[in-house]
């Protein structure tokens, strides 16, 4: 197990450095000079001064040197300065983390709570009406654009039925409370889970079907283990392995979903921050979000690999 862990870590390191290098390249591809963004109008008078600031900031050094220096800054937790608001990027991202965590966390949770049982039921009733219906449903969830699902949800639940608010995270004018937050959360989290559920259903169904064909399931049935026992102990546990990988692999997709959903529902999270950053050309903010996500994906992929290795000893070899 230890050898496997070390091997996985050794693979992850070049990928991490690659992610960071690509972010670095993107930073340098962007238009706009970070030096002018830092200078006050009076300082911008002469080119000598610009050069001096440039040298002070180390921007005259060769790219690889700058890359290493930039890595050092990252380790200190410095993600750069916002062009637009002239404050550290971390300060802008900080308050946006919780809303996104609440939204995506509840979205994933709802999707798993419904998606996995539906997938199991569909696999056990393969080629029945239920199987076809759930297959069609998950196809719809995959095919209808997230923003259109959001607009439909707003139309039905906020405009037509008037049950739920159409956007935002709290009602203005009243003090923030849990119930109010929950009311605002239902629609965006519901749409996010609808988007995620399709792949969960499909994957659970497929991987359970694959496992049910295996010999050890037949053996368990033959020696008289009750049907549900076979499903839960022998089949479902093994079909969880690909599911953990799906959860990790889907994080970029999850983030894409939250970008759209936060825009549609004016939810004040990181996704909205990205869109605001794009509209105001505030590139450092966007890059910081991109990098954080990429590193998170890498981390969760690693976690998924370790989980898979715990669940399935063969992988460790």
């Amino acid at each position: 197990m230890l050898a496997y862990l070390i091997r996985r870590l050794l693979i992850a390191i070049p990928v991490l450095l690659g992610i960071l290098a690509m972010t670095f390249v993107l930073v340098h591809m962007l238009p706009g000079d970070p030096v002018t963004a830092l200078l006050t109008p009076e300082e911008m008078q002469g080119p000598e001064l610009l050069e001096k600031r440039r040298a002070e900031l180390g921007l005259d050094r060769p790219m690889p040197v700058q890359y290493v220096a930039w890595l050092g800054e990252l380790l200190d937790g410095n993600l750069g300065q916002s062009f637009h608001r002239k404050v550290p990027v971390t300060e802008m991202i900080g308050p946006r983390v919780m809303p996104t965590v609440i939204l995506s966390g509840s979205g994933v949770l709802i999707a798993l709570l419904f998606g996995v049982p539906i997938g199991i039921a569909a696999a056990l009733r393969q080629n029945t009406k239920f199987d076809y219906a759930s297959g069609f449903g998950s196809m719809l969830s995959i095919s209808i654009p997230t923003f259109f699902q959001g607009l439909i949800a707003i139309y039905v639940f906020a405009i037509w039925l008037r049950w739920l608010p159409s956007g935002g995270m709290r009602t203005l004018g009243i003090p923030p409370n849990g119930l109010d937050l929950l009311k605002h959360l239902i629609l965006p989290a519901g749409v996010l889970s609808a988007v995620l559920m399709g792949p969960y259903v499909r994957y659970t169904r497929q991987s359970l079907l694959d496992v049910l064909r295996l010999d050890h399931v037949t053996t368990a049935r033959a020696k008289g283990v009750p049907y549900m026992g076979v499903i839960l102990k022998h089949a479902f546990r093994n079909s969880l392995i690909p599911l953990t990988t799906v959860l990790a692999v889907q994080i970029p997709a999850l983030l894409a979903g939250t970008v759209i959903i936060e825009t549609v529902f004016t939810w004040p999270g990181m996704g909205r921050l990205v869109i605001e950053g794009i509209n105001t050309r505030d590139y450092p903010v966007i890059l910081a979000v991109v990098m954080i996500t990429a590193v998170l994906v890498l981390f969760f992929n690693f976690l998924a690999d370790v989980t898979a290795a715990i669940l399935d000893p063969r992988i460790r070899l």
């Binding site: 693979i11 990928v15 690659g18 992610i19 690509m22 993107l26 962007l30 196809m139 719809l140 969830s141 995959i142 095919s143 209808i144 654009p145 997230t146 923003f147 259109f148 607009l151 439909i152 707003i154 139309y155 405009i159 159409s166 988007v195 995620l196 399709g198 792949p199 499909r202 994957y203 694959d210 690909p242 799906v246 692999v249 889907q250 994080i251 970029p252 997709a253 983030l255 894409a256 979903g257 970008v259 759209i260 825009t263 549609v264 990205v274 869109i275 794009i278 509209n279 050309r281 590139y283 966007i286 890059l287 979000v289 991109v290 996500t293 990429a294 590193v295 994906v297 890498l298 992929n301």
Partner: protein, 322 residues
Amino acid sequence: MNREGRPTTRVDAEAIIEASIASGEAATEDLSIDDTTIGPPRSPFRIAIRRFMKHRLALVSLVFLGFLVLIAVFAQIVAPADPNAVDLSSLRKPPSGDHWLGTDSAGRDVLSRIIYGARVSLTVGIAAALSAAGLGTFLGLVAGMTRGWVDTVIMRIVDIFLSFPSLIVILLLVAVLGPSVTTIVVVIAFFEWPTACRIVRQMTLALREHDFVLAARASGSSNYRIMRRHILAGVVSPLTVVATLLSASAILLEAALSFLGLGVRQPQASWGGMLNEAQSITVLEGMPWLWLPPGIAIAATVLAINFIGDGLRDAFDPRQTR
């Protein structure tokens, strides 16, 4: 779902790899199972076509998509009006005999804009999917055939690309490079090739162990010839499935970009862009003709492509008996 669009491809990708490897191993034995009728000699390709024809939804989808392509190609003839003709005397008018789907905030005919919007979606879907699949196939073949350090490097690059939240990076690049159909296609292809690359590499690794490759090598075939004649042929079937799913996700990505206001430039009509204008509550509440048709158009197109992808996968997968 997207990445807007992404989940489909990535989730299914793994399943395709498994199914395709199984089909590679079991191709010869299994393919004859469901053929009970007597007829002309059957190649695996013909059997796949027959299986695809049995997949009713996929067939209907194929007809629908063909119809859509025709509409897009002959938009000038089909469209009742000029999609960009501004008519200030009829702004946001509900559907009527003159304008079957009403008019938008600039008095333009919604139906005509939907018809012209099909061009953008289909162009992006086809061009981005083909380029991504092409690049992915090339790198996947190289990785699988050479193995060693080249393989390691390519696969780590794939890992790097797959870690990035592509929607956001694509948004960023399109914002920087300026929105146009070409930029969108190039940027989407640049971030979508890794899925194809992984599958082609897996297939190549599985195929190269077969006896027919050994036989080809023994009879003096070069690496290049083996790749072209034997590996590529085996890779084609799973690749069509991947390309289908890639085009679905490319269409969803383009729609998402346009919806966020970063797609093709106005006034060019695109489905996502039409929905962009529907974000106000007044439009949502009182003018369904402005947002329902483009949304349904995207959903129907992507749904059709995904059904075709499903049909193709079933057709190429000998494990499925349906």
